[in-house]
């Protein structure tokens, strides 16, 4: 677990490799924690992604005392990206199963129902987010922190080192931008 704190300190000091190295550690921890949660709970229990992220933080970083938001920001950035990848993988897998990809015989029990088309929405958001990241990295990061790591606007603002007012403005623009992109009518930015 000390690996993570070491990486967080290095990332906070500006080491870009440290920030990248965080991702696989956090990814593994999220999967592991999820397995523990799932095994302990009754079927039908829903997994709160943001609770998982905060749980992973406690387990990987431990006591919060003395840690500035700059340090925590890298953790939550990695956690948000990890969570995003886990969910997108699952959405893609679900999509393949629905369309009978590979013509495997699949028991109906194995194919989770997707009546709301949530997978499609998530995949569309993921694509739109990629585009947004190319246009405005800070806004894309903000969306990831809020949507995938569950941070409040206040927490996300601190993570990114901006004022709450700035974060609010960026959030409003990003939401509109993504909504448009997902509706397939991107504004000509």
């Amino acid at each position: 677990m000390h690996d993570v704190t070491r990486l967080l300190d290095a990332a906070a000091a500006g080491d870009p490799r440290a920030a990248a190295d965080l991702l696989p550690l956090v990814y593994d921890e999220l999967r592991r924690l999820a397995a523990v949660h799932m095994a302990a709970e009754k079927p039908g229990h829903t997994l709160q992604a943001t609770a998982l992220v905060h749980d992973a933080y406690l387990r990987l970083v431990g006591s919060d005392v003395g840690r500035t938001w700059n340090g925590r920001g890298h953790f939550f950035g990695a956690a948000a990206e990890a969570m995003r990848r886990i969910l997108v993988e699952a959405a893609r897998r679900k999509k393949r199963q629905k369309h009978g990809g590979g013509h495997r015989r699949v028991d109906l029990d194995d194919v989770t129902a997707d009546p709301d088309g949530c997978s499609e929405e998530l995949l569309a958001l993921d694509e739109a987010l990629e585009s947004l990241a190319r246009e405005d990295a800070a806004k894309a990061e903000l969306v990831k922190l809020r949507y995938f790591a569950g941070l409040t606007l206040e927490e996300a603002a601190e993570c990114q080192g901006v004022s709450l007012a700035t974060a609010k403005r960026r959030w409003a623009v990003a939401r509109a931008w993504l909504f448009d992109a997902i509706s397939m009518i991107p504004p000509n930015l």
Partner: protein, 225 residues
């Protein structure tokens, strides 16, 4: 947004606070001046803002989809443990599964050659709480000293840090099957049941409660005379 233009963000934020379309047009005309491209961009975003409504993206991703994402995929290999060695034990077929652990038949090589039952905590389940429960189960079994309760022979942790413990391998079939295939009379069945109760009583006297007695878990076999 080739460079993040703060002015676009600011103009947008002001514009969406004006619910009246005419007021917005006025404001945008003043704020964007002769910059038509900027105005078009802001107008498109403002329109998207009102189409999106209040709830879009406001709730962090959670709920049923998050659960499904973490469930193991149906095409993942069933058990990576079979054939692998843990100390002197080589895992053979899996014979059981509980909430926390998997039970295998294992071949012990040292210091004696024999078949044993090895219970290994499931992969990915090594949070402190789960490990503590697993260890408590092992301890409880180790307290038992009764001919009808399998003995704990060994315990340890794999190189990956997964706890396990080793027990006597009890051959035999579920007691219900045993009774049927041997056509036991009611009296004989009750006799077997009494043996089970005595074993459970032994546990109770040691301060241990089973909490998961199942008929399938009780085995019957003939003792070699």
């Amino acid at each position: 947004m080739p460079n993040a233009t703060p002015s676009l963000d600011t103009i947008f934020s002001e514009a969406i606070e004006l619910p009246d379309a005419a007021e917005r047009d006025d404001y945008l005309a003043r704020a964007c001046g002769s910059d038509d491209a900027l105005r078009r961009r802001v107008e498109a975003l403002v329109a998207a803002h009102f189409r999106a409504g209040g709830s879009f993206l406001e709730q962090p991703v959670a709920g049923a989809d998050a659960t499904a994402a973490f469930a193991p995929a149906s095409d993942e290999t069933p058990s990576p443990d079979i054939g692998s060695a843990i100390g002197p034990y080589t895992l053979r077929e899996q014979i059981g599964e509980g909430g926390m652990g998997l039970v295998f038949v294992a071949e012990q090589a040292q210091p004696v050659r024999r078949k044993v039952a090895l219970k290994l905590i499931k992969p990915g389940m090594d949070s402190r709480q789960v490990v503590a429960r697993f260890e408590a189960e092992r301890q409880a079994l180790a307290l038992m000293d009764h001919p009808n309760i399998a003995r704990v022979l060994d315990a340890g942790t794999t190189t990956e840090g997964r706890p396990y413990f080793v027990m006597e391998l009890v051959k035999g079939e579920p007691v219900t099957d045993y009774c049927d295939s041997n056509r036991l009379s009611l009296r004989q069945r009750l006799g077997l049941f009494l043996q089970v109760c005595q074993a459970v009583q032994h546990a109770h006297q040691k301060g241990v409660i089973h909490r998961d007695l199942k008929e399938q878990g009780r085995r019957g076999h003939c003792m070699d005379s």
